[in-house]
């Protein structure tokens, strides 16, 4: 049965949910306060690298990330097909470089539990490491090589998603200003500041760092808040072969010839400006990883607001008292990576289908107000 779906938020999560729901035969209307992909999504470095980034032991979040990584090859093909647009999707693999022998134990711990999930990572050093990534500093004594990790050019990916949605018939309304949800006689309506009202069978909340405001209408706590991530890029530099991680940040060469480096995190409310401190810190560290950056200065600097949550897990799923409301927010540093799986979960929740991974841990009602 065709459902009328209202999606609030035109970031990568809202667009992915729109893309998937519309493809499955529903009629989607997407509502965006400013412009699609204008916040964290467009600012992202597009790392698809859960094996390097997750230090923890296996949990539902790891499974969610891994599933999404595995969905990406097919998913990105579909987006390109429907959008008739291309964007960079690069299966470069990644190297997690370490400077101390004492880091080997940590890599071994990670490798051993990830192996049980079929992750084909390996520690490489010496000549092999040098051959794989000749530009790396000699102070990096070894690296964890994760051949399955990839990256995507996020600004183009988001544009393609938006185009694919439009071409599939999603009705996109942007520049609406701050949206509100009103409840009248048990019926939920989304209201724009100019008075326009939108109605649907289901409302999907994909408002990223702007999600705490829904506490006003729903009787739950949604502890989602912005963490600023500052990024910079160099040009005219020999590209690296892999995504390179260290304890302090990452570097990744993009197909357009730039080298993107992140991220300096800080707490600055909704301010998306870059700071000298944030960028200088990256520059200084980057030179320790890639000596070729010695005389280089970044040509481009920017920042995005990552929607962080109180326990580090996103909020995905239906509200029990408002089964017509589906949350899909709080993806923190992993919005791009988690976009395919989140799109599919939203569509499954909409249709009452089972999900490919457990989502109980991401229950949007799990937080209580003390």
């Amino acid at each position: 049965m065709t459902k009328q779906v209202l999606i609030i938020g035109g970031g990568v999560i809202g667009l992915s949910a729109a893309f998937e729901c519309q493809r499955r035969g529903n009629q989607v209307t997407l509502l965006e306060s400013t412009k699609c992909g204008g916040q964290a999504s467009g600012a992202a470095a597009g790392m698809l690298a859960p094996y390097c980034e997750i230090e923890e032991d296996p949990d539902e979040f790891f499974l969610l990330c891994q599933k999404s990584l595995k969905l990406f090859p097919e998913w990105q093909k579909e987006v390109k097909k429907y959008a008739s647009m291309d964007f960079e999707y690069n299966n470069s693999g990644s190297l997690y470089g370490i400077f101390h022998e004492a880091d080997i134990l940590g890599l071994e711990t990670k490798m051993s539990w990830q192996k049980e999930f079929g992750v084909g990572a390996r520690i490489i050093e010496g000549k092999e490491l040098e051959k794989k990534e000749p530009g790396l500093s000699k102070d990096i004594i070894a690296a964890l090589w994760c051949p399955e990790e990839s990256h995507i050019y996020a600004p183009d990916y988001v544009k393609a998603l938006e185009t694919a949605c439009r071409r599939l018939g999603v009705s996109i309304h942007d520049q609406l200003g701050m949206l509100k949800i009103n409840e009248h006689n048990g019926q939920l309506t989304v209201l724009a500041p100019d008075g326009t009202a939108f109605e649907g069978d289901t409302i999907v909340i994909a408002t990223g760092a702007w999600s705490q405001m829904w506490e006003e209408i729903f009787p739950y706590s949604f502890p989602v808040f912005p963490i600023r991530g500052q990024i910079c890029a160099y040009n005219e530099i020999e590209p690296t072969n892999h995504i390179i991680f260290t304890s302090q940040g990452y570097l990744v060469s993009k197909g357009n010839g730039t080298l993107v480096c992140g991220a300096s995190e800080d707490i600055a409310g909704f301010d998306t400006s870059v700071t000298e401190k944030g960028i200088e810190r990256l520059e200084k560290w980057n030179r320790k990883v890639l000596p070729a950056l010695h005389n280089k200065r970044p040509f481009h600097k920017w920042a995005g607001l990552r929607p962080a949550t109180q326990d580090g897990f996103p909020l995905i799923g239906k509200l029990s008292e408002y089964p017509e409301v589906i949350f899909a927010t709080g993806h923190y540093r992993n919005g791009i990576l988690l976009s395919p799986i989140t799109g599919k979960i939203v569509a499954n929740e909409l249709e009452g289908n089972n999900n490919p991974v457990p989502i109980e841990r991401f229950n949007p009602e799990r937080f209580i107000t003390l």
Binding site: E56, A102, G249, D266, Q310, D311, G312, Y332
Partner: protein
Amino acid sequence: MQKNLVIAGHELKSRLFLGTGRYPNPYIQNKAIEASETEVLTFAIRRVNLQDPHEDSILQHVGGRYFQFLPNTSGAKNAEEAIRIARLAKASGISDWIKVEISKNEKTLLPDPIETLKATEVLAKEGFVVLPYISDDPVICKKLEEAGAAAVMPGGSPIGTGLGILNPYNISLIVEELNVPVIVDAGLGSAADVTQAMELGADGVLLNTAIAKAKDPIAMAHSIKHAIQAGRLSYLAGRIPKKKYATASSPISSGI
């Protein structure tokens, strides 16, 4: 008036030592540290940008407040490695306190007592304030004290397991036999575990995962702070002996 904890002449108002790893994000990390009222922060030396600690991905967020840093040698597989990274940390000016942590097994991360003793001896002689992380064995704990440890940190259970104190008897023996402070480190999962450690007479606790991975790390930090206080007071107040049968709490023959 309760006495404060003193380690190597340094007086600490809080008996909580807190790890800086595994927090979901810097905002929660800061708020949790603040709520815990800890004065001692521990972190792995290998993970830190030693040249510019104030630019480090984790330490930069705790700047602006005073903390006694307790860098640890986690990841070191033997005494030699631990000594080497301890010296790096000291040379960087971060701290001359060092938590010696030496493990070989990547699954249990249990401390290697022989290598820990070796490293403690060497580093104490070099003037470090050494706090070794060690198994809950009273004999090795005493040897560490003799080797010059400023405090000894027996584990309740393996790191990050949240299994609590697996051998309370041993912890109480360690408390009884040592003259230096005993800080129960590793494996504590909740306020109850922390209270138990303090009731056993520990001088403090060190934890990380119990707070960082809680659903609400800030609330858990508050809870741990109170648990330390509750356990410490209960220990000082002196618990009643356990008996098999009931004793009426309102005596029949009250002294009128």
